[in-house]
Symmetry: C2
Subunit: 382 residues, 2 copies
């Protein structure tokens, strides 16, 4: 077990009706004016927006809106938000939506207190030293952004999808009401399942030293996702399944499953980021394609852990059986496992590999991922 | 899954040599003078004391000593600490030791900023509104006090062993260096194993609604304790086993395994607290006696969860087989399972039951625990 430091400052407000208190939560931090960020107008149609506004008014908190944030959120929108936050002198950001809205909000929170270009922080040329407070009501369980210090944004001009990480961007309070996640489509439910599993396996498979207790936590999250996804596909109203799915999503990337782990990397994410940056595929859909393909190439580097995975998660024994079982499960729930399902052709692989290698300059992808290796992995997904 | 709020403000510094930075960690909070609490002089003999003093001096932090804190820590010592803390105007408490030293330190931290009697907070007649900052280097993995908001103290005059709970007593920084826990005797290792399992099972068995994901986390901690205790009994130098044991101890009572759980109680602890208050037995030794006895009486109230426990932890099927397997395991590692092993006789049961019922006025023990029931449970331990 490796040395570590752990402190997660985010306060979680989990459960039914918690969104009704959002004004109270924000007022506890002395905030009087927020930038209210969201994606489509769905939150206005389904009533969440009105509930939030009412709670903000009750606590005399002014708000300015920034709607229209899209999946695979883009840098231009973050810049628009930064300009607005500065002009309007907002004191915090309130994010209503899923990981894309929240990641944009975190990025705006950083840029709002900075005079330079926010992209500097994504390419690592400067370090984040402050940010506005971020609050959120998370309406899609997938990214874990509600309890972590990461944000991912795509520079749509350069086709670079990069991340920032800083203790300053942990949300202050995150509201997770599983009922607000009921309206998520079946497609996005299964993409989210793939995303959570991806967050779980990156460290689990790539770290040379992975404490058993941490493996057990990871497996708890993965098996919860598998069990609850199957329940939700049959019964989208099942509150407990929705709640456990949501909590697994948060725990998969709030740090608890990466403690004491030796050096690891996020190859599946690095590869997928190029798919979504270039072809705008849903992140989770890209991940369910990349994971089995990557695993088929990688497993010989860590057969003990792949056998453990096969056994603990699917009750089978060999690495290959475990990988096959995961791929079959992705097929069963209806998330893609082949590039063709994302309308990506064999002839596109050259461009994808080039993009990954370009991005690797600013990512944690290690140097075993050569052009040849990446081509082989992507070929596994044909 | 029930609604919940979760935020754990404690920063964990886990791993080798972390104690050498204690002065730095404390100085980050602007603290210039601490009360340094500990138990026996063992920490002076084994060098920890000198390491700590050196680090405090490096950061110009003054210290006053309060040694001699005993297991099942007593109120009179807490009062001595409070007087000293006030007289010397210390700004924080630094606890060097196990759960008893830390719980005393938390209690002193509360009393040092209060003009009344600290025992008021234990009997619930007043609510804790402030406390000095607490820092600790934990030298015994068992109570989980290093990452929670509880403290347990015995009023040795009234034979009451009660607890306080407050967000103000989360340690600011807890240092967990598994190497410092190597010198723990085999007896205290196995008592600690029993204590961690007790923390794990109370909510797991007594809550009517227990989310599956939380059950999985609990089982991860229990199975880690079982596996690592067996390794450590053969090889006390095994760092990774020691580290995983320590981390399981912390996670068993840092709140994560009680989230979303419906109403629960701590009957095994309530019963054991009377054993240790009356007969001064080691808390963990008392718990390994109480648990199988309690389980044999209680299991019919929650057979589904007892069967789950039997299956997930020991690979057996019925409730009874699971309870027997746990009792056998306690016997195997050498922690007591019968009152006689604690030198408690059948004729003592009357007094124990009376003490439990008296304490129940200020504890969470629910009203199913009548005189007859408690007698039956204790008879199961003969």
């Amino acid at each position: 077990m490796q040395n570590f430091t752990y402190r997660n400052p985010t306060r979680i407000e989990f459960g039914k009706n918690k969104e009704k208190n959002i004004g109270k939560y924000i007022s506890e931090y002395g905030v009087k004016k927020v930038l209210l960020t969201y994606g489509s107008n769905r939150i206005k149609k389904d009533g969440l927006f009105d509930i939030v506004i009412e709670s903000l008014k009750e606590f005399n908190i002014e708000f300015i809106e920034l709607g229209g944030i899209i999946s695979n959120p883009v840098l231009s929108k973050v810049r628009e938000g930064i300009t607005l936050a500065k002009e309007q002198k907002v004191e915090a950001i309130l994010s209503l939506g899923g990981g894309s809205v929240l990641d944009s909000s975190k990025s705006i929170a950083v840029g709002a207190l900075d005079d330079g270009d926010v992209w500097d922080f994504f390419i690592g040329s400067r370090t984040i030293e402050k940010a506005l407070n971020v609050f959120d009501i998370i309406t899609l369980a997938a990214t874990g952004s509600e309890m972590n210090s990461f944000a991912v944004v795509t520079n749509e001009k350069t086709k670079e999808k990069y991340s920032i990480m800083s203790n300053h961007i942990y949300p202050k309070v995150s509201v997770i009401n599983p009922e607000l996640q009921k309206s998520v489509s079946k497609d996005y439910l299964v993409y989210s399942a793939a995303d959570i599993i991806a967050h779980s396996i990156e460290g689990y498979f790539t770290a040379k030293v992975h404490p058993t207790i941490i493996s057990k936590y990871v497996e708890s999250n993965i098996s919860t996702v598998i069990e609850t996804t199957e329940i939700l596909l049959k019964d989208s109203e099942n509150y407990d399944a929705r709640a456990e799915f949501a909590w697994a999503a948060t725990n998969a990337l709030n740090g608890t499953t990466y403690l004491g782990v030796s050096e690891y990397s996020f190859p599946n994410h690095m590869i997928e980021h190029s798919l979504s940056a270039l072809f705008n595929v849903a992140h989770g859909a890209g991940l369910s394609v990349v994971m089995p393909a990557w695993m088929k190439w990688y497993y010989r580097n860590n057969t003990a852990q792949f056998e453990r995975f096969a056994n603990e998660i699917f009750g089978v024994y060999s690495s290959q059986e475990g990988i096959e079982a995961l791929e079959n499960w992705f097929n069963k729930i209806g998330t893609p496992t082949k590039l063709g399902q994302l309308n990506i052709k064999q002839s596109d692989i050259v461009v994808i590999v080039e993009n990954i290698l370009n991005n690797a300059k600013h990512s944690r992808l290690d140097n075993i991922y050569t052009k040849e290796v990446l081509t082989q992995i992507l070929n596994n997904a044909l």
